[in-house]
Structures are given as C-alpha cells and as structure tokens.
C-alpha cells in the first residue's frame, strides 16, 4: 500500500528532440485506482515505465509512499507491472512464471508453492500451471500475467493496456474483474489505456495525457462534464463533442457562434473562442427556433439514435436522441443548444466559461 507522487517528471529520449513526457505531476492517493488515458504516442507507457524504474526521468522526482525512488532500480520499488503483450517468460511453465518474482525475493519454496496455488485458484488458471505460455490463449496469458503481478503483493500495481489484446467480450468481463480485484485488495493501481470506456468505467480519477503532458486529472464524470481543455473535451465522449468557432463580445447577452448558434455565455472577452457541446446537449427543435440544417445521416443504435445535421453555414452537428420518432435523411430540422451544458474554450483551448440560461 502506497501513494505515488510524480513531481514534474520529464523524459527526452534523444537530446534536443521533442520530449516524450514533458513535466508530468500527479498525486495518486494510497489505494486509488487511477487511469492514465490518451492517444497513441502521448507518453503513457513512458510515464508508467518511469514509475516502475525501467526508464529514468531526465528531470523531476518520483515518490512512492513518500520515499524518493527516482534513483532506485525496479526491484527496490515494490511495484508489479502487467505489460501490454504480457511479457511472460516463454521458457518457464505458468507455475514458474507466477513464482519467479517470489523466487527472486528468496521466499521459502514451500511458501511460494502455496501462494502460487492460491492465486492460480482465485484466477481460475489452476489447471494451466504446468503449461508453457505458448500453449495458452490470449485471455489465459493475460490471467497469468495478472497472477504474476498479484502474487507478489506489491505496494503499487502498474498496468499497461492489459486488455488491448483481448476480444471485446473477454475485455468487458476482465474490466469488471479488475475493478473487483481492486476493491478486494485495496492496493494502489495505475492503469494505462487509450480506451475511453476503460477510463470512464474503471477509474476513480482519470489523467488525460496529450503530447507528454497531463491535461486534466479528475474523477471521470468531472472530466466528462467539465473538460479543462478542448483536447480533453474532444478525446472523451463518443460521438465526438460538437465544436463551433466564434468570439466572446462584451454585450453580455447573446453571443453568436458559427452555425448560427446563439447563446449567453459567462466567460472573459475573447477574439477567438470555441463553443463545445456534447451530442446529448443539442436539442432537436423546429427549424425556426434554432439553427436550421439538413439531416445527412441517421444512425439508429436501438436505445438511442445519432443524428448528423449539416447546418446552414456548412458546419456539422451531431445529436444524440432518445428512442422515439426521428427525422429522416434530407429533412430540415432545427438544432438548439442546452445552454448550461455548453462549454467555452479560449484560443489556446483552455476552458474559460460556460453558457448560461
């Protein structure tokens, strides 16, 4: 059990090049389940590897349980890691794979056997103990990798996209199991993924990374409702959040954005601003009441329908509608913004205000 604190850590793989990680600070509480999410190449794996001690930061400090571990090798950090491709030892049996870490720590062999058996039992891989990794399915390998991490009872678990090689069904099931595991063990877990569903459903707090920086670190629903940057707003949520360019003028009442969107906002004056609205926060109204547009695509998903509308200025708007009658392609419809849910970002993409009723 331990907290993890990153103090402005940075990693540059080649001197002069762009940094893979650029001043990341995170304070992860003891026992917290944190998800680091971001697009490919944003530095998630690099952050995790620095916490593990597999990569040294070029700047910044790393603390585990209040101790500065920046210069300690992995084996002195009391962490366990599950790798994206599992990284099992191909020449060792499942039993030896799981027990390897304990053997390295000179745990009594009788004790090792007992602990390996118990973990294997709880993960339902007891019958596989004498097989080699090559004789296992992807899901089984994933469990072995998990068992290898759990058996050591580390202070911190690190996961690097552990579910990305599994098919959708196993992935959904394992997601639930990991959350239950976390609840049972109560150990600090740091989980890297580029899958927003995993981020939203598993995390107590999500760190959204972009180009080597953490753009926001907050509970998933907070991140969803109040993304602190335009990048975060666009990265999380499917379909993608609607964006309308415009400016914030001093008249205080109604502001105009592209696509004929008008609403009152509470935000500092800005020559360049972007209004961002989730698809579920756009309402379908009569063409005269909101921005008029033409329906270009209807995607019925069952419980909801996604409606794509081309507004008069040529802007695309995406609406999420509940079940019920929906317009057809080619219909002219009106779109209005649920003002209190609308977000206003400045020219640099930072959240600076919201719409008001």
């Amino acid at each position: 059990m331990a907290s993890v604190r990153l103090e402005r850590i940075a990693k540059r793989f080649d001197a002069g090049g762009t940094p893979a990680v650029d001043g990341v600070s995170l304070e992860i509480a003891d026992g917290e389940f944190t998800v680091i999410v971001g697009p490919s190449g944003c530095g998630k794996t690099t952050v995790l590897r620095m916490i593990a001690g597999l990569e040294g930061p070029t700047a910044g400090r790393i603390f585990i349980d209040g101790t500065d571990v920046t210069d300690l090798p992995p084996r002195e950090r009391d962490i366990a890691m599950v790798f994206q491709n599992y990284a099992l030892y191909p020449h060792l049996s499942v039993r030896e794979n799981i027990g390897f870490g304990l053997r390295m720590r000179r745990v009594d062999p009788v004790d090792i056997a007992r602990r390996v058996d118990r973990i294997a039992e709880s993960l339902e891989i007891g019958v596989l103990l004498d097989r080699r990794p090559a004789q296992l399915s992807g899901g089984q390998r994933q469990r072995v990798a998990l068992a290898r991490a759990i058996v050591r009872e580390p202070a911190v678990f690190l996961f690097d996209e552990p579910l990305s090689n599994l098919d959708a069904q196993v992935r959904a099931q394992t997601r639930g199991e990991l959350v239950r595991l976390h609840r049972r063990l109560g150990t600090t877990m740091i989980y890297v993924t580029h899958d927003q569903v995993e981020a939203m459903t598993m995390a107590q707090r999500v760190a959204v990374m972009h180009k080597g920086r953490v753009e926001q670190f907050a509970p998933p629903l907070d991140v969803y409702r109040a993304p602190s940057t335009l990048f975060v707003a666009s990265f999380l949520g499917s379909p993608t959040i609607n964006r309308f360019a415009g400016r914030v003028l001093p008249d205080g009442t109604s502001q105009r954005f592209d696509g004929g969107v008008r609403l009152r906002v509470e935000a500092p004056l800005a020559e360049v601003a972007t209004l961002a609205v989730r698809p579920e926060h756009l309402n379908l109204v009569a063409p005269t009441e909101g921005s008029a547009g033409e329906v270009t695509l209807v995607e019925p998903l069952g419980p909801e329908t996604i409606l794509h509308v081309r507004l008069t200025g040529g802007e695309q708007a995406t609406l999420r509608l509940g079940a019920g009658t929906t317009p057809a392609v080619g219909d002219t419809v009106g779109v209005s913004v649920r003002a209190t849910e609308a977000l206003v970002y400045d020219a640099r993409g930072r959240l600076m205000g919201r719409g008001v009723a």
């Binding site: 597999l54 090798p73 790798f83 990284a87």
Partner: protein, 276 residues
C-alpha cells in the same frame, strides 16, 4: 490443371533438386571412404577404380597407430571443448552487452568488431604466433587454445539474436526483482538456446578442422591435432592415400555426431537469424 497435381509436380521438382545437391555433397565423401579401403597401389591405377577390389579394413587400425592418433584426438578434443565453451560464453556475454547495454563508444567498438570480420585469418597468423611465442605458449595447450576463445562472428550472431528478443521479457524480470546477472542467466540465455547451439556447432567444426594455427603453434608430435596428423601422411610416408583417407574418415565421425545432435537447434538458429 488440378491444384494437387501442380503441387505434386512442384514437390517432385523440389526433391529431384535436393537429391542432386545431396549427391554432389555425398560423392566426395563416398570416394574418400572407398579410397580408405583400397590398398596402397590400387589408388594409382588408371583408370582409377570406383571401389576397392578387396576392402582393406586393416587400413583403419594401421593408419591410426602409425602415428599417435589417440593423442591427436585428445588434443583436438581439448581444443574443440575450449573453443566451444569459450566462444559461446564470450559470444553470449559480448552479444548481450552490445544488444542491451548503452555504454560510451558502443557503436565504435561494434564497428571495429565488424571490421575484424573482414580481416583474413591468415593475416593474423604471424602476429598471433609472435604474441604466443613472447608469452612462452608455443607448443602448449594454453598457447594452442588461448587465441581461439573469442569468435567475432559468434558475438555478432548472438547480438543479432538478442536484438530480436522482446525487451519486455527482461523488463518483466527486472520488475520481478531480478538483478542484471540473473536476467542474463535465467531469461536471456535460455531464450537464446537455438543461437547458442548454432555458435557452438560452428565453433566445434572450426576447432576440428583448424589446420594452419595448430600446425604453426605446435611443434612436437604429441602436441599435434588430428588435422595436422592426417596431413603428415604426406611426405613422411610418400603420400599414403588410403591411410590418409582412413584417418580422415575417422576424424569426420565427431563432426557428424555433433551435427546430428545439434541439427534441430541449428536449423532453427539459421531460420531465426537469417545469417550464414
């Protein structure tokens, strides 16, 4: 044409080519065997007979006792064991270091290694002899063996192999608490078995067939190796071909055994590394 007939035709063509190639390899060996069983004068008949009229099995014991071949085999065996152990071990250590560790001058040192591959062995013969002579190693096992313990080619092959292994396996061991030595011995080395077997086999063959260096660095009869011993049938006994061939056939046996024993690993090693 039905696809299976096309497939069969291709298989027939493939096997025919393989059989032809195999015969090309096999014929000199069969001729050698045949010569080993001829009597001393039959060899010089014209046209040369394909098979001995009356197989002289006694050629084998006679040839092998004419000179101290037991001692030659022992010397060759010592050389071979030392070369196999030395070259696989130094190859694994060097190859792993080049593949995995960052250190100042790694690129330059590796380039120098590759450069050394281009130097013909014969160019090094005299410098090596002078060095061993200065160290007082001429005509000793230590002198014979010591300059053969590292194979640049072995380092190179194992480096390539280690580069092809996923680093994450080693990282997993690192997180699991293994030291760098443990990772090398327990993880990297077992995974490199096919490549190690390839290096070991080539070292063995290299050791067994080496001629020039043992000829130069050994002087007394009891320090000679098998190859040098076989060659001394020339001149000493006015080119006794059957004796020489009988000794050569005997000398081939360990090579065949070594090849058969390591064949499985060795072909896999070639597939895995794609070199040599």
């Amino acid at each position: 044409m039905r696809p299976d007939r096309a497939g069969r035709r291709r298989a027939v063509a493939g096997y025919t080519a393989a059989i032809l190639l195999a015969s090309v390899m096999l014929i000199p060996f069969l001729w050698m065997l045949s010569t080993a069983l001829m009597d001393e004068f039959e060899v010089f008949q014209y046209p040369p007979p394909l098979l001995p009229a009356d197989p002289q099995w006694a050629n084998f014991p006679n040839a092998l006792t004419q000179l101290p071949f037991a001692r030659f085999f022992l010397n060759s065996g010592i050389l071979a064991v030392c070369m196999v152990l030395g070259q696989t071990l130094t190859g694994a250590l060097g190859g792993y270091a080049f593949a995995r560790f960052r250190f100042a001058g790694r690129g330059a040192v590796f380039a120098a290694y590759l450069g050394a591959l281009m130097v013909p062995a014969i160019v090094l013969l005299i410098p090596r002899f002078l060095l061993i002579d200065a160290l007082g190693g001429v005509d000793t096992i230590a002198g014979l063996v010591s300059t053969e313990l590292v194979s640049v080619w072995g380092v190179f092959l194992l480096r390539q192999f280690f580069l092809s292994l996923p680093r994450e396996t080693e990282d997993a061991a690192r997180v699991d608490g293994a030291s760098e030595w443990t990772i090398f011995w327990r993880i990297a080395l077992p995974l490199a078995r096919p490549a190690l077997a390839t290096v070991a086999l080539f070292s063995f063959i290299d050791a067994w067939k080496s001629f020039l260096w043992p000829l130069v660095v050994t002087q007394s009869l009891e320090m000679r190796t098998v190859e040098v011993g076989i060659a001394s049938f020339h001149g000493l006994y006015y080119a006794n071909w059957p004796y020489q061939m009988a000794a050569a056939v005997t000398a081939l046996i360990p090579v065949l055994v070594a090849f058969l024993a390591s064949q499985r690993f060795f072909t896999r090693g070639i597939q895995l590394t794609g070199i040599r």
